[in-house]
Amino acid sequence: MPHMSDIQKVIEIEVLRYNPETDKAPSSQVFEVPFTDDMSVLQGVQYIKDYLDGSLSFRWSCRMAICGSCGMMINGVPHLSCETFLRDYYPARVRVEALNHFPIERDLVINMEGFINKLESIQPYIIPKEPRTLAQGEYLQTPEQLNLYEQFSSCINCMLCYAACPQFGLNPDFIGPAATALLHRYNVDSRDGGKEERMDLVRSEEGVFHCTAVGYCSEVCPKHVDPANAVNQNKTNAAVDYFLRFVSPKGGAK
């Protein structure tokens, strides 16, 4: 039996580097990283930072597909790097790049300001229909009512769906998949009364009609949320709202 060190495998990791202080544009750098079969792409990138080049910048936290911090383009596909394994690319080279469609702040770190603003704008919390006192007790909800929004509440804000959405890439103002999925999650919650406020956003210039049903957002979601479904259901909702106002005017309609 050969000793472990005799069969140490080495994989090439090509990283798109960008230093705003010295570089005009990003460029690739290749690192040779020894790895074992249980190592994720994130661990490969961490190896580079620890042993080969300490200046490499990237975000990460939980290492178990919960926090949504470590999203990267891996061979051109948006993945959480903590649940993507080097062994699945070996012996070929693996190419790592910052999430598509976002401005690169430095190396693998993107600027997520736009996304955070969108997240705030959808009011991602329950807006009660009427004031409720503690004495009235908890809200009750049936399993059917829970089913309507449960999958959309699994979103971890990792932004892989934005990196998968060409319409967001072409127009960064588009509210996009995750924010719409969360907007929908609250709109269809039986405890919520904020639908009217959020619908203004749905039907706005930045709203759901930018979507051309590519569907890749739902393919890449690591938590099996179906953001394409939320976006497209709200195209119908916006259209229904538009025609209903002729039948029953609500006043103040824009």
Partner: protein, 132 residues
């Protein structure tokens, strides 16, 4: 002064960079054949309104090999268009609950394809019966 200088990558040729997007462009492209075929039928309708000679002239022009080739290409493209249309359909619909269970995506796609096939065959049989 801030050292920040966020770099925005260009979107040029975005659809060539991922096989998923290439397929998307192909299935969106098949819509051209749907429109082209509708235009051919529309021309037929105009010719019909212009009298028997015009109508027969149009019918005759359809027998040219170029038109036959176009019809074959349109059949292939529209078949693929139909398939991709119903494949994305479950993603565009509110949940359909049957007997307390949410209908799975394949059932929605399958029903759509079955209805499309039945409508196609039904129309063919109807026209066939009229032509005899």
């Amino acid at each position: 002064m801030s050292k920040r200088r966020p770099y925005v990558r260009p979107m040029d040729g975005w659809w060539r960079k991922n096989p998923y997007f290439v397929e998307y462009m192909i299935h969106e492209g098949t819509a051209f054949f749907v429109a082209a075929y509708a235009a051919v039928l529309l021309v037929g309708l105009v010719r019909l309104s212009q009298g028997e000679a015009a109508w027969n002239g149009w019918l005759h022009s359809l027998t040219s090999p170029w038109y036959v080739l176009f019809h074959l290409a349109a059949l292939l493209a529209i078949t693929y268009h139909t398939y991709t249309w119903f494949k994305i359909m479950p993603r565009t619909m509110p949940p359909v609950v049957v007997g307390g269970e949410r209908l799975p995506a394949w059932a929605i796609t399958g029903t759509g394809l079955a209805v499309a096939a039945a409508a196609g065959i039904g129309l063919l049989a109807f026209v066939w019966g009229m032509a005899r």
